[in-house]
């Protein structure tokens, strides 16, 4: 006869309430772990999905994710010339915040190097990759932009032609994919008036200089778009992504490029590490500490629940001792209830959590290894929590059954 189960059935309502309470608490512990997983996954997801072997960034920066990096566009061609390099793509990446229907809409803008990269590698949940080099975008579902929806960014209107699932920047904002040219247009958007003023000023400077009077064609150029001015620096990109040919040696290629004075080179693993060490490290520690506190609180609460459950049946325990029940029977009664409480709590935590977590604004990932770890922790705190009750039960005298 299992005394633990009989007692639980007898006190069913109260035990259920206790289980739900413990379950909710464990759900929060589980959620903390899941949020941490989500942050790591989100942070490194882009790096993993893009599938570049090497990242060339501005010298001595930890860009383009951990900090700002600026490299010239022609770096793509320089990289392509390195033996062993299979492909090089521009990487343009920045975050903007706009108003959309009265709410702040944060978009991480990522440029795809048209026409080599139309976004075929993206995990599209609907729609299609980019089909023209302007005015189209692929938006992550978290941006809540519907297929076919038009949105004005800078001076142009862009149409959502595809949506992705779980393409999120390390800060948790949904990513939208444009061609590099569009991404730059959005980034370097200046109001028409300031462009006109800049061109007038440029013209004025030209007229006043000898250079302007000697070369009238220069003045003609002054009124053109700055992108078309050969003498002015080109708009810059964040980084260059390199994929190497299968036969080439990654370290060898990285060594050659890192010899250049104006850039630094990272492998994908290096990039991932930069992100995890920098941006994510503090969040990780914060969540880790919080999770530890919650675990301790859960243990204390479970201990109190088991203690009061033991106090409630202390008369029965004294009676069991009186009729000669050995200690292991009493110990088993309390310990089994602790384990049942822990196990059911865990089940409640998981089943409620997997319904609730998807509604969170950021991803909560319940990794199997985390769940196993949590199960072991719960096992530990169940055993620890039962100690107080067991101590009380072993102390009670059989005489108390008679009072």
């Amino acid at each position: 006869m299992n005394l633990a189960r009989k007692d639980i059935r007898y006190n069913f309502g109260r035990f259920t309430l206790a289980t739900v309470g413990v379950g909710m608490l464990l759900m929060v512990v589980m959620g903390m772990g899941g949020i941490y997983r989500g942050i790591i996954e989100d942070a490194t997801l882009l790096i993993d999905r893009v599938g570049a072997d090497l990242w060339i960034v501005q010298r001595n920066t930890r860009g383009p994710f951990a900090e700002v990096s600026r490299v010239p566009t022609n770096l793509v061609h320089r990289a392509l010339a390195v033996p062993g390099v299979n492909a090089a793509r521009e990487f343009v990446y920045h975050t903007i915040q706009r108003e959309q229907n009265g709410k702040a809409l944060r978009i991480s803008v990522l440029g795809l190097s048209w026409p080599t990269d139309k976004g075929e590698w993206l995990p599209l949940s609907a729609g299609r990759p980019l089909a023209q080099n302007h005015y189209e975008m692929i938006a992550d579902e978290t941006l809540k932009l519907a297929l076919g929806e038009k949105i004005k960014l800078g001076k142009e209107i862009y149409t959502v032609v595809g949506t992705t699932k779980n393409m999120i920047s390390s800060s948790g904002d949904g990513i939208a994919f444009f061609t590099v040219a569009d991404a730059q247009a959005i980034q370097f958007d200046t109001p028409g008036e300031s462009t006109r003023l800049e061109r007038a000023a440029r013209y004025g400077r030209g007229e006043r200089s000898d250079l302007g009077s000697n070369q009238p064609s220069l003045l003609e150029n002054a009124e053109k778009s700055s992108a078309e001015l050969p003498t002015l620096p080109l708009p810059q990109i964040s980084a260059v992504m390199v994929t190497i040919s299968p036969a080439a040696d990654l370290d060898q290629v990285a060594k050659i490029i890192s010899g250049w004075g104006d850039v630094s080179v990272y492998t994908s693993d290096g990039q991932r590490e930069l992100l995890l060490k920098g941006t994510v490290e503090k969040v990780r520690r914060q969540i880790g500490l919080f999770r530890m506190l919650l675990t301790i609180i859960a243990a204390i609460i479970m201990g109190l629940i088991l203690y009061t459950m033991t106090l409630d049946k202390i008369h029965s325990i004294a009676l069991l001792k009186l009729i000669g029940a050995p200690n292991y029977v009493i110990l088993g009664l309390i310990m089994q209830q602790a384990l049942i409480l822990g196990a059911l709590g865990l089940i409640v935590a998981y089943s409620v959590g997997s319904k609730v977590f998807p509604m969170f604004p950021r991803r909560v990932i319940l990794a199997q290894s985390d769940l196993i770890q949590l199960a072991l922790i719960v096992l530990g705190i169940s055993v620890a929590a039962s100690f107080l009750g067991i101590w009380k039960a072993l102390k009670v005298s059989p005489n108390e059954a008679l009072s």
Binding site: Y10, G324, N399, A401, L402
Partner: protein, 239 residues
């Protein structure tokens, strides 16, 4: 189980004294109480309230050790003062059956489970325990209530379940503290007769604290406790 060699007395107390508290609050509840019970004998323990009957009974039951004196069960010294010479709990579950004034059932177990658990903690298989529990409850007239929880039974029914539990392990010592208080006189007498029958058939020693002078004919030996002093009586010397 009665597996010890048959001694002269199944219960023997040698001048047991119980002092509760100390200093100003000291209460001598029982002084130099000596009793011998031969196998198969049923003892009535009489006496006014507060005279020390329960103190004596719980001492013999090994749950309230005396301050001094020896308790010998089936020829084996068990307690010397409050000094245990065997594992008291395992001795209790094998050799002693209790029935107390207040019905003492486990509330989260059904009637039959309350009987069953006493046997299961003594190593009886659940199915064998269940069969015997059923027989005992039937015999005591509460078989139809086997699956009810104690709170759904009347005081008398609860007491009969407690009697069934006390008899479950074929104890060699049965101790009952005013077991019939909650029973009508017919049921009360039936329980007394059951104790006598178990004593005679199994050679158990039985001590029953009772106020019911009408059933005294069931008993083989009479003792009376007064102000902590135990005295053997005959039917003639009982007031």
């Amino acid at each position: 189980m009665n597996n010890l060699s048959s001694p002269q007395y199944v219960i023997e107390t040698e001048a047991i004294t119980k002092i509760y508290g100390s200093g100003n609050t000291e209460v001598v509840a029982m002084r130099d109480a000596s009793m011998q019970v031969e196998p198969g004998k049923v003892v009535a323990l009489l006496g006014p309230s507060g005279s020390g009957k329960s103190t004596f009974l719980t001492a013999v039951g090994l749950i309230n050790p005396p301050t001094s004196g020896r308790i010998i069960i089936q020829g084996k010294a068990i307690l010397d003062g409050d000094n245990a010479l065997v594992n008291l709990r395992s001795f209790r579950r094998q050799h002693i059956g209790f029935v107390f004034q207040k019905s003492n059932l486990i509330p989260f177990l059904s009637a039959i489970e309350n009987v069953q658990v006493a046997m299961e903690i003594n190593g009886v298989s659940p199915s064998a325990a269940r069969t015997r529990a059923h027989e005992l409850l039937d015999y005591l007239g509460v078989g139809d209530r086997a699956n009810n929880s104690p709170s759904m039974l009347s005081g008398g029914q609860q007491q009969r379940v407690a009697v069934a539990r006390a008899l479950a392990n074929h104890p060699s010592v049965i101790l009952a503290d005013e077991p019939t208080a909650a029973l009508d006189s017919h049921r009360g007498r039936q329980v007394m007769e059951l104790f006598a029958q178990v004593a005679h058939e199994q050679g158990a020693g039985v001590i029953v604290v009772t106020h019911d002078h009408r059933s005294l004919d069931v008993f083989d030996i009479l003792y009376e406790m007064e102000d902590g002093i135990l005295e053997k009586k005959t039917r003639e010397t009982i007031a």
